[in-house]
């Protein structure tokens, strides 16, 4: 079981490196976001704004860019492509647990997430953001982002397994927009209108942003980090469990 996960994980990671064309486009939006924020929005919110804790708006927005970078449909797309070309059948007919196919993919998501999150963070730093929690804080930001990416990957994997359709899996990425924008992504919770605030508070993604943002702006705020980690783990468990169930039940 563990051997199979390791083998399939290594293969998926190798695929990531050999198919940069699958990863590079996912970086456009987060980097574009950072650039827009430094160029324009930062004039609206000067660093004297209280909730910016003395930093520029880029720092406030960095977590949003990080989530954009790590939340992808890449694993789902890889899986549906494999279903399409028949290699998936080869894996299903091998004497390994089907769940190792999923775990192999998630392993690659963590590795890819570490890479893209590091890149986005470095660009944010270059644009003037500073991590209040220091170097360990930066490591935590990258780690939490990558974990969230793997947790969220289950969603596209589910779409892939249920629809077996490349376009549908690709389109599943769209869902992330409402999830990401119904959050305190532009301004803090208390600056949102009543309805928006209620929606944002019900949206788990908000707490991931809040946790990452606290590391950037405030340092080690343990309760925010605990909630952030809790949301990541819970989302990961639910989506991964559903994915494993879907693959175990595939054509059965």
């Amino acid at each position: 079981m563990t051997t199979a996960v390791a083998l399939l994980g290594r293969r998926a990671v190798r695929e990531t490196f050999r198919m940069p064309e699958a990863t590079i486009p996912t970086l456009f939006i987060p980097l574009f976001f950072l650039a827009v924020n430094i160029g324009q929005v930062s004039k609206t919110f000067p660093s004297s704004t209280p909730w910016l804790h003395g930093q520029g708006y880029v720092a406030f927005q960095t977590p949003v860019s990080l989530l954009f970078a790590v939340c992808t449909a890449t694993s789902g797309l890889a899986l549906v492509t494999e279903i399409d070309n028949g290699y998936f059948d080869k894996l299903l007919v091998a004497p390994v647990r089907r769940s190792s196919i999923i775990f192999g993919r998630l392993a690659a998501d963590v590795v890819r997430g570490i890479g893209t999150a590091t890149l986005v963070l470095v660009v944010a730093l270059a644009f003037g953001a500073r991590v209040k929690a220091g170097v360990p804080g930066a490591v935590a930001i990258v780690g939490l982002s990558a974990l969230w990416g793997a947790a969220y990957a289950g969603f596209a994997i589910l779409v892939a397994l249920y629809t077996r359709n490349v376009q549908a899996t690709n389109a599943s990425f769209i869902l992330f927009f409402p999830l990401l924008f119904l959050t305190p992504n532009f301004v803090p919770f208390d600056r949102l209108t009543g309805l928006m605030e209620a929606l944002a508070r019900a949206n788990p993604v908000s707490y991931v942003i809040e946790g990452l943002r606290s590391l950037v702006l405030q340092g080690w705020v343990l309760d925010k980090l605990a909630i952030c980690l809790g949301v990541i783990v819970a989302t990961g468990l639910v989506l991964t469990w559903l994915s494993v169930r879907a693959i175990e039940g595939y054509d059965r």
């Binding site: 051997t3 199979a4 083998l7 399939l8 293969r11 190798r14 695929e15 050999r18 198919m19 494999e82 070309n85 028949g86 290699y87 998936f88 059948d89 080869k90 894996l91 299903l92 007919v93 091998a94 004497p95 390994v96 054509d251 059965r252």
Partner: protein
């Protein structure tokens, strides 16, 4: 229709051979296998199969006959709608994990990971079957040599030609020296030389003790390679036996009378009870007469047609082929039979 084949000529009955309850389980034993897809397509309509340990078994049928569906059910990839199947003595539904350890599978749709190299793909395959480290490297090299991919081993599989992909896929089905090997149309799309290579490989694997279940649309492949064949059409097995027995059962010689517009019924009536006539099978635009002695029957056939003032086209004599068996069972010729009828050395399709 006359059918006066002497009893000793019948090697095996044309009707499906029932699976016997006694005896060893063999490589594959299926009974009453049915697959009805969502939407109501009855792909497989209750087939019984019995593949003995150590034999090469051919599953011959036209497009859409249900070959792939059957293979997928036997390989644990698709649950049957009804019926049971034992592969390597194990129930595919009750013990799929154990079945998977014992079978090798090369499906019709060649499934390769395009961004891995051939070597990586085989080594990964080894790992999935519990062969790791130095053993995996050695086994991969051995198999790559075997299928003639040593030079291309370190290229990504997306750069491979169709034939190379097939050979790599075949190699990947062999990493663990399976007890039963399933090959779904292993030579479709191969050039004649590659086809012969695959045949040789199948024979070699079989000689080492692996039972082989292969599907094909090619009569010649079934004839040359298989110890026994089952012919499937529209989800049902219409004939089963050794190629020799199936052909022998058809009769000695087949005289084909091209009708050229003549009426089939009238022509058959005119020929009537020809001496030595074993059976008459109508074909599109022709009549196939199975007779004891073809050459000497021709004169009599021509005389009788003349007498009845029926003019026909060409009259030819040949030995019965598996296509005649198929024709007799279904009333149709096997689609795609033409390309297989030419020997692999000459002409044919290319990869």
């Amino acid at each position: 229709m006359t059918s006066t084949v002497p009893e000793h000529e019948i090697g095996r009955s044309v009707v499906t051979e029932p699976v016997r309850d006694d005896g060893p389980p063999g490589a594959v034993k299926a009974r009453g296998l049915v697959k009805t897809f969502k939407g109501g397509v009855e792909a497989v309509r209750g087939i019984d199969l019995s593949v003995r340990a150590g034999e090469v078994f051919g599953f011959l049928g036209p497009n859409g006959a249900g070959k792939t569906t059957t293979v997928r059910m036997l390989c644990t990839l698709l649950p049957p709608t009804a019926g049971t199947a034992l592969v390597a003595g194990l129930d595919v539904l009750a013990r799929p994990a154990e079945v998977r350890k014992r079978i090798g599978v090369a499906l019709q749709e060649i499934g390769l990971d395009p961004v891995q190299t051939g070597r990586e793909l085989i080594e990964l395959q080894c790992g999935l079957y519990g062969i790791v480290g130095e053993d995996a490297r050695r086994r991969a090299q051995e198999l790559l040599d075997l299928v003639g991919l040593t030079d291309a081993a370190d290229r990504r599989t997306k750069t491979y030609s169709g034939g190379m992909k097939r050979r790599l896929d075949l190699a990947s089905a062999l990493v663990h020296s399976p007890e039963v090997l399933f090959l779904d149309e292993p030579t479709t799309g191969l050039d004649p030389a590659s086809r012969l290579t695959v045949w040789d490989e199948v024979r070699r694997i079989n000689a080492l003790g692996t039972s082989v279940f292969l599907t094909t649309q090619y009569l010649e492949e079934a004839d040359q390679l298989c110890d026994r064949v089952a012919i499937i059409d529209a989800g049902r097995i219409v004939a089963e036996g050794t190629p020799e027995a199936l052909k022998a059962e058809m009769g000695h010689d087949v005289v084909t009378v091209a009708l050229d517009g003549a009426d089939a019924g009238a022509t058959a009536a005119a020929i009537g009870a020809l001496p030595g006539l074993e059976r008459v099978v109508p074909e599109p635009e022709a009549l196939a007469l199975y007779v004891e002695d073809g050459p000497s029957s021709i004169a009599e056939i021509v005389r009788r047609l003349d007498q009845a003032r029926i003019s026909v086209g060409a009259i030819s004599v040949s030995r019965p082929s598996l296509d005649d068996v198929f024709l007799s069972a279904t009333g149709r010729r096997l689609e795609g039979a033409d390309s297989a009828e030419s020997p692999p050395e000459s002409g044919g399709d290319s990869a």
